[in-house]
Each structure stands twice: as structure tokens, then as C-alpha cells.
């Protein structure tokens, strides 16, 4: 009941505390490391290969060797080249799709959480409807109408269908924060509701919002990979998921051409896995109670 009197020396800054724990946290370091590795590969990769993804470079179906690091496909394309050219697509869909989902989730979540009442009910209905609509079926219908699709359309689609998770989580957090005294005090200072949400509530949830973005980012990549694999992805360009799609289409598995689908598979798993590990690590950094002394 009676809180302890101040027990910290004067110049302790919260930012320093975060950075200190951030650098110490193994999970964060591992996750970030994996992510950075692929990011670097994405930039450096094209320099390492003189081919284009769809170039005919040599014998088809050759396993990895010193000439062709990841081997070649049934069409004689260099798998390594396809891999490094496919990475940007993966990251782009993550940022655009994940970012869009986060922004939509934030908007709906904040409004529903802060206003409550009828507004909350209506937004809840909307959220639940979107959640239960089978995204795959929707995409199948969409693909029948939009013949030519790029990464951008795919990202938009993912963004517009995956935001409910974020909205729910943010709404719940906003609910708990809006009953706190400092929100009342802001109201007593004459602040408008919109300003209160952005200047009082959102900053308090900064770590939560950041982690939500990371989860949306990873989720978008995974969803895109699935869609690509099913052939519902972009009709041009290349991505890791598309590589796997091609591999299955051209019977890589029964023919034993593991080098065609294993690298992209590992790539997706590693990136998304790294992101999730980062998230767990971040949770420990932001939440002092989870830290070990």
C-alpha cells in the first residue's frame, strides 16, 4: 500500500536501462543476428553472383558445387541467385504487409479500447467478421479478377486480412491503461481524447506496439510464403515462397533435388524464427519482472 520512497540515484535514465539490458539479452542478440545476416545477404548477394534469377546458366538439376553454390533448378537457373534475389520480396512483404496490419490494428484497437461502449461493440463485430472470413477463399476469388499481381498487391492483401490480431491485443492494453489516474489527469488538463491516446497511452505501450509490429512482420512473411507456395502470390518476380512453389510444381521432391526447396525453406524458417526469438528477448528487456538478475 505505501510505496517505497525513492531509492535510485538522481541521473538514472530509463533509455540507458533498456539499452543495457538489450545488449545483454542473448535471445535478442541471436534473433537480431539472424535477421541482420539475411539483410546483409540481401544487399551483398547480388554482387556475389553474375547471373540473373531466370538466366539459363548451365546444366539443369545439378546439386550444389563450387560453380553453383546452391545447385541449379530443372531449368538450369542458379538457385543461389534466385535465393538472394528473392530475399528483397520477402522483406518487402513483411514491412508493407506487416506495417499495414499494425497501423490498421492500432487505429481500430485504440479507438475501440479508448472509447468503449457502442463504438467498441461495433468495432468488435468488424474485427470478428474479418477474423472469420477465410482469407484463402477470399484470395482465390480475388485472383480470379486480378490477373496480374505484384508484391505490392500481395502485401496489401495480407495487411488488410491480418490486422484483427493486433487490434485485439492493442484494444486490451488500451482498456487497462485508460483507467489509470494519469489519463484522468490529462482529461482534467483539458486534453482532447485523440491527443490523450497519442501522447499518453501510445507512448506507454511503445514496447508493446513494437513487438506487435515484429510479430506482424514475421506473420506476413509466413503468410506470403504460404500464398506463394500455393501459387496465389505475385505473378511476376521471385520470392522464397515462389521458389518452393516452382520446386514442387516441377517435381523436385521425387527427383531428389533437395537443393531447390531446402534453402528457401530454411531461409523463411530462419528469418521468421529469428524474429520470434527477438520478440521474446524484447519482452524480457521491456518487462523488468521477466529479467533475471
Amino acid at each position: 500500500m505505501i510505496k517505497a520512497a525513492a531509492s535510485l540515484p538522481t541521473s538514472v535514465k530509463k533509455k540507458n536501462e533498456f539499452l543495457y539490458f538489450a545488449f545483454k539479452n542473448t535471445k535478442l542478440r541471436v534473433g537480431l543476428g539472424i535477421l541482420l545476416f539475411f539483410l546483409v545477404l540481401m544487399f551483398v548477394g547480388p554482387q556475389l553472383t553474375e547471373y540473373e534469377p531466370t538466366d539459363f546458366v548451365g546444366p539443369s538439376g545439378v546439386p550444389p558445387s563450387t560453380d553453383y553454390w546452391f545447385g541449379t533448378t530443372s531449368f538450369g537457373e542458379d538457385v543461389f541467385t534466385q535465393f538472394v534475389y528473392g530475399l528483397p520480396a520477402t522483406f518487402m512483404v513483411g514491412i508493407i504487409g506487416g506495417g499495414l496490419a499494425t497501423i490498421l490494428g492500432m487505429t481500430i484497437g485504440f479507438i475501440a479500447g479508448y472509447r468503449g461502449g457502442v463504438v467498441d461493440e461495433v468495432l468488435n463485430i468488424l474485427t470478428n467478421v474479418i477474423l472469420t472470413i477465410p482469407a484463402l477463399a477470399l484470395l482465390l476469388v480475388l485472383s480470379a479478377y486480378v490477373k496480374v499481381r505484384g508484391i505490392f498487391i500481395e502485401s496489401l492483401f495480407i495487411g488488410f486480412t491480418t490486422w484483427p490480431w493486433a487490434a485485439r491485443a492493442i484494444r486490451a492494453q488500451t482498456f487497462t491503461l485508460r483507467t489509470r489516474d494519469f489519463v484522468d489527469l490529462a482529461k482534467l488538463s483539458g486534453r482532447s481524447s485523440l491527443k490523450i491516446v497519442f501522447t499518453e497511452i501510445a507512448p506507454n505501450m511503445a514496447s508493446y506496439l513494437f513487438m506487435t509490429f515484429i510479430l506482424m512482420f514475421g506473420g506476413a512473411i509466413l503468410t506470403a510464403a504460404t500464398l506463394d507456395f500455393l501459387g496465389l502470390g505475385p505473378t511476376q518476380g521471385t520470392s522464397l515462397g515462389l521458389m518452393m512453389n516452382m520446386a514442387v510444381l516441377w517435381s523436385a521432391l521425387p527427383l531428389g533435388m533437395w537443393w531447390w526447396f531446402v534453402p528457401p525453406g530454411i531461409g523463411i524458417t530462419a528469418i521468421v524464427g529469428g524474429l520470434y526469438i527477438m520478440n521474446v528477448g524484447l519482452d524480457e528487456v521491456f518487462n523488468p519482472k521477466l529479467r533475471e538478475m
Binding site: A4, S7, P9
Partner: protein, 320 residues
């Protein structure tokens, strides 16, 4: 002597070093004595209370020893303390009444608690029923969920549970602070009744509300900044305290009958010292109206009259 504590020192481990939360407590409690542990936040009273039963990180045991009924209490060793917890030393934690598992009926929760102490529920059931009668709880409370009980009822249930195995020492941590005035009186008097019926031998009542202690405690130990300041019988502490801190504290409490316009009370200026790197000498020095040169040396906690201990160089009283 029921409980003897000598030079107990328990520090909190933090990134920035050790916080000297409890720095040398020495006192004893006789059989049947209810000792109040009073002081403001950060004085170490909660640390002291919990150290006697459950000392885990970030608290660490640094020095001193504790004897209960002549037997050494291994407070520094959490595993060895298992044998003593609930049977010889028991505690009513601060938010106990909110800590009951809401999905368990009270009776089930009790039997689970007892099984974990290797006591059969059916063996103790008759005694449990007797105690419920004593605290005026209906027997069917065992079949209820915590949400069906009022605050006062929950607090009494927790009190019955904590004392079920007749511990020698009961530590009550702020048991009345969340209750209404009328329930406070009932619960406090119930603590005394438990002692009178010998369900517990001695009790430490931790609270910041000294007026409750005046009503039920036999003696009061006042702590300040991790060290004991004064220990004496309740009437002495309230009416004729010797330590300047105790004196200022008692006089700063508003009482019914005292109005601002007629008698303006004053508090104690300043703040307690930070315990991360505590100052040398008497810790009350910076706020004490009677501080003088010798206060740069730490005063020992000595017995100046029978049963009256003070840690002050002016132990004969500053207002003599």
C-alpha cells in the same frame, strides 16, 4: 524467550549494489507477547517480517541469527526452513485476502494447503471447525468460493488458515489496512483472541498505523532506515518515547479533537536516507532536532530502562 533475533542483517541485491534494507536488528519477544513493528516505508519492517519466514532473492541473508523457542531458525537456508514454515512460524501476508485462488472452494484450498505440509485434512477438520466458530464464520464457508465472502470474512478465513497448526510465531503484515473501520476493530481483536486462546504463542504485527498497535500490542518496535530506533511497552512508546524520531512521529499524528485552527501539528522535515549507500553514524541525524557532534558515530541499541531499548546518544531523553 520465545523469539530471539540478534544483529539480523538482510540486504537486497540490485544492479547498483546492495541495498541495506535491514541493518542490524536485535530484539526479543517473550511467550504470549504481541509486538508491533512500526515505521514508515523503507524502514525495513516488511523485510524483517518476511526474513523470519521466507528469505529468497533478491533478498539475501548477510549476518545475524534467530532463535525460536531455543532452536536455531535457519532463515538463510530456504530448503531447511520448509520444516518450520506454517508449523512453527506462520505469516499472514499483506494482500492475503485477495490471494485466495478464485477457482477453488475454500475447503479444497485448505486441504491442498495442509496436504502440502503433510497434514491430513480430516485429522484437523474438527479443530478447523472449532476455530471457524470462534471467529464467527459459518461452517459452510468451506464450501464457498472466495468471491462469495466479504473482505472481513476473507481476512478472518486467512487468519484461521495461517494459525491452524498452532505456530509459535505469527507474523501479521498489514492485515487491517484494506479494511473498513468496523472490520478493522473486529479483525484486530481477533488477533488478540488467538493469542489468548494460545493458538499462537507470540505475534509480530507489522503496520504503519500506530493507533491500531496502541489498541492491541503489548510492545512496539519502531524502526527507521533499516535499523531499530526504539523498543518499549506500548504505553511507554505512545506516552513517553525517548528517541527523537518516535517522539516526532507520535506528535505528527492527527487525533480526533485536534483541529488545525487550534493546534497546528508538524511533521518531520526531510526524507529518510537512501539505503544503497547509507550514511555513517546515526541515520536519523539529518532530520533530528537534537543532533550533535557524537551523532556521527552510530549509537548502539541499548537497554536504558527495564524492557526499554533506544538507539540514541541522548538516551536519557532529549526533553528531560
Amino acid at each position: 524467550m520465545s523469539l530471539q533475533v540478534v544483529n539480523l542483517r538482510v540486504f537486497y541485491q540490485t544492479l547498483r549494489g546492495d541495498v541495506h534494507a535491514l541493518d542490524g536488528a536485535t530484539f526479543s519477544i517473550a511467550d504470549g507477547e504481541i509486538m508491533g513493528l512500526a515505521g514508515e516505508s523503507g524502514c525495513g519492517k516488511t523485510t524483517l517480517g518476511y526474513s523470519l519466514i521466507h528469505l529468497t532473492l533478491p533478498k539475501k541473508f548477510v549476518d545475524g541469527w534467530v532463535k525460536l523457542d531455543g532452536e536455531n531458525l535457519p532463515i538463510g537456508d530456504t530448503d531447511r526452513m520448509e520444516a518450520f514454515r506454517f508449523k512453527k512460524v506462520s505469516i499472514i501476508p499483506q494482500y492475503a485476502m485477495s490471494a485466495m485462488n478464485p477457482t477453488r472452494k475454500i475447503g479444497k484450498m485448505t486441504s491442498e494447503l495442509l496436504e502440502s505440509r503433510k497434514v491430513r485434512f480430516n485429522d484437523i477438520l474438527p479443530e478447523l471447525k472449532r476455530r471457524l466458530d470462534l471467529v464467527k464464520l459459518p461452517q459452510d464457508v468451506l464450501g464457498m468460493y472466495p468471491i462469495e465472502l466479504s473482505g472481513g470474512m476473507k481476512q478472518r478465513m486467512v487468519m484461521v488458515l495461517s494459525t491452524l497448526l498452532n505456530p509459535s510465531l505469527l507474523i501479521a503484515d498489514e492485515v487491517t489496512s484494506a479494511l473498513d473501520v468496523s472490520t478493522q476493530q473486529a479483525v484486530s481483536e481477533m488477533l488478540v483472541e488467538f493469542r489468548d486462546h494460545e493458538f499462537v504463542k507470540s505475534m509480530i504485527v507489522i503496520t504503519h498505523d500506530i493507533s491500531i498497535l496502541y489498541q492491541i500490542a503489548d510492545s512496539i518496535l519502531v524502526m527507521y532506515a533499516g535499523k531499530p530506533a526504539e523498543k518499549a511497552s506500548t504505553t511507554t512508546i505512545i506516552n513517553s518515547p525517548l528517541h527523537p524520531y518516535t517522539r516526532l512521529l507520535i506528535s505528527s499524528l492527527p487525533k480526533v479533537g485536534v483541529k488545525y485552527s487550534s493546534q497546528r501539528l508538524s511533521g518531520i522535515p526531510g526524507n529518510p536516507p537512501l539505503l544503497l549507500d547509507p550514511p555513517a553514524g546515526c541515520r536519523f541525524r539529518s532530520r533530528c532536532p537534537a543532533a550533535f557532534a557524537k551523532c556521527s558515530q552510530e549509537p548502539p541499541f541499548v537497554e536504558v530502562k527495564k524492557g526499554h531499548y533506544v538507539a540514541c546518544w541522548k538516551e536519557r531523553g532529549i526533553y528531560a
